[in-house]
Symmetry: D2
């Protein structure tokens, strides 16, 4: 069946640009023939924790380090992240391991600050339609990782990317992370149909976050492999040196051993899928 | 059945404050024995349009005037509102009719500007979890009308109110406006179960917006009456002097005659419900 | 806005029949100017229980008695109802109080049996698209109360009614009972938007079941009033002589006193809505 | 994180039976180390059509033939299938190609008839909670392919399987086929999280139907590969000799060439996943 494209934005669309967009950050690339794996803790908790995490994810083959410093939390009384201090620890861990880093920015006014420390600016699910923030990162020279909103349609998601591109920034990475449905056996429902639909409608790269989607480390590996089967350009996975001690989302964080196993299986799968894995 | 309250925030909860919160703005009150009706156009389009709208909604009995100046839109290419100019028109219409005014603020940095023109700051659905914005209006002296997020649980919504109250502002008005479901016969699914649940868990006033919920003016009157039956403290309704010419959401805007009919029926119903209607 | 009708079936549609369908059962009528209240226990548990329930709901003004004998249950190990014995108790309670009775039929082969005992055949949510059952009750001379499926669109629901009408039975009563959404504060999300939409598209009567929708007796009264505000032709409410001892759905059952209060408020509201209440 | 199992039924659970259930039908097996591919047209349209379909799916490597004879349709005016005549054509096509066949049964009374023609009885989404039908196929000696209900939780789905097993039939194959969500870019939202969750909770085999999930042949291949990545035991795919002429669901049917490509990729992937493919 022909794919319906009337609803898509301009700059994000395949009509505007036929070939896939490939985004380079340090030695890593997102989009293109190679798979990318972004890994690290949900939240930066200490200098030591993020440095340990960086070393172990690099050892297993991750090419980009993640870590939250400004954490949007449902309750005002939950741990809100280490802020600027956390960014500094993350940047240091990135430098020591040679890994580019990504972290979330939650307020337009913080974009200059966060940009000093990170290589990729992340927009979280809650802010997918925070248009002031989208326009502001659209004026940044940093690539933007745009998570799908909790109950966003693919159309709304692509139009959020359009806001960023329309403001001047062509380097947008889409990230599917599960949508809200009636099902409670997993935290969210990972919508892997989004991968081929986005690929049909847009030239932008798309990666998948199975950690937030499932909320359960036991399900991260099968859904990571499913994401690659669906054609995703990479993964974003939560890894913690000691998941049981995590201040945030420990239930869904992989242990170092689990992450190593995931990378082994990703490598095996990538050949059968006709794609390599970016080397760290 | 006993109502489960463990999950609610502190300051928003009935445990923290047993009696209903009543918020006064000019001659209008929200919460308490009387019903409040907020009405006006989706977007301020011109000085004349909003002044006409103000006069006609006041004539039929509305007590607060609404009108959007900063419009968050799914596409960057849709009409984004008149901004500061629109706020000035709205404020003038409010002064000439003696109606307090409410308008949306979409960015933390705009709070001082918007506060100069409006009596109530509105937080829209897309920004319900924009915590920087919530904290900022929490430091304002203006009451805040907090719309439920498009796919927010009642718990998340009450915790968003908690962010505002925790920042220092006790005057929060909750507004149910429909949630996202699989059903497409109406734009959203109005969740009137939220009214008694919120009343059980919280002391804050709750009003209902049947216009955004249905997206169709033909369904606004029955759902307005349903909202009052459920125990809502008031309504927020879109009214346009000429719905067919509206720049935004004309399909769901009531005509002057339809709004007059709605107010007549609201008055008739309010007696049977043991509540009066605030006099304009 | 004009109402879109292209998708509706033939026999159920307003195009096919402009005037509202009114269904008479004994002294009760469903549809038309008067409101109908169907009440009784979720499940028939004993001869005494259903007779007590019948007497008390009649005393407060209910016009039709409900009670489940064949109970579709999610688990095969839950109480499945008293079956034929339960039907006999229900019919006896109806005869002694002069109330017509309604009960669910869950299998096409049971239609003759259930029809011997009841005045109205109920099709439950799980069977809304059990087409063999729909066709079979379509050949019955009993009116059919058709509950909306748990995640059925209004279109699918009306087309299920079309199956019944197409098989020869014009007496279909639609019953909104909440749909499945992501929200867990209530058991289901009562979709009162369905009332005006169904009224616009179809001539069939529509009633509302706030008991199954909320799953919590504390929310039944406000949502019952909301349903009437939305224009519903009546209510279906669970009432148990002693809710704490109910074998099924006790949390959502009204006590005799709560049901009396509900009927008092329904009567008060019906005048303001320009509708009377059917006298028992 | 430990997997929560309290809610699962008895006979379906891993607690009841640790090792994976493997179901044999003719030369095909479902569950166990090898992947199974069930393929064929949505509906049996003619003797020639289903025989052509059987030959071409076998030539590409399918091991079981599917084809609908009794078709549950949302509208009573849609094509309802060829019934008994269709079953005879399907059975003949199966015999001529040596492929076991599967077809849907939609009414308890039809189970003996359908069982004469098919090797596996399919229960469709609309009937997942048709308990009379579940109990009836539970008394059959044929394996049962149980599709997940349109908006069923995994718990409800496993409990539906429990009904079948409790009635005496241990041979149940679960089939994920997409759930109903707010997203409209695909027909349903394929919930691949169900695969590892079901594998954790139950010993039953689980396969995936990407055709009904997406409603678009362009998305079937990527989601088929995703399903295998997630750990599914096989696929159920719609294939039509000439999709443009299909009487039912042509938009989602693969052409013979597309199905051959799918089988080639399945074979390539199965090695990397450590699983073979059942030989036809």
């Amino acid at each position: 069946m022909a794919v319906e494209t009337a609803w898509v934005g301009r700059l994000v669309s395949r009509e505007h640009k036929r070939e896939d967009t490939v985004i380079s950050v340090g030695k890593a690339t997102i989009g293109g023939p190679h798979l990318t794996v972004i890994a690290g803790p949900c939240a930066v908790e200490s200098r030591e924790q993020v440095l340990n995490a960086a070393r172990l994810v690099k050892a297993s083959g991750a090419t980009i380090l993640r870590g939250g410093a400004f954490k949007p939390r449902t309750s005002p009384y939950s741990f809100q992240g280490l802020g600027k201090e956390g960014l500094a620890y993350l940047a240091e861990a990135g430098q020591k391991t040679g890994l580019p880093v990504v972290s979330e920015v939650i307020e337009a006014g913080d974009v200059p600050l966060v940009s000093q420390y990170v290589d990729i600016l992340q927009i979280g699910s809650r802010n997918m339609q925070n248009y002031a923030l989208l326009r502001r990162v659209g004026k940044s020279s940093r690539p933007v990782l745009l998570k799908r909103g909790l109950a966003a349609t693919m159309e709304e998601w692509l139009l959020a990317a359009e806001y960023i591109m329309d403001a001047g920034n062509p380097a947008v990475i889409l990230c599917e992370r599960g949508i809200r449905t009636y099902e409670t056996a997993t935290r969210n429902t990972l919508d892997l149909g989004a991968v081929p639909v986005v690929k049909a409608l847009s030239h932008l790269p798309i990666i998948v976050d199975p950690s937030h989607a499932t909320g359960n480390s036991a399900y991260v590996l099968p859904l990571a492999k499913a994401a690659l089967g669906a054609g995703a350009d990479g993964l974003m996975v939560e890894v913690h040196p000691c998941p049981r001690q995590a201040l945030c989302d420990g239930d869904q964080s992989l242990s170092p051993e689990e992450f190593k196993e995931l990378m082994d299986q990703v490598r095996r799968l990538s050949g059968a899928l006709g794609r390599g894995v970016v080397k760290p």
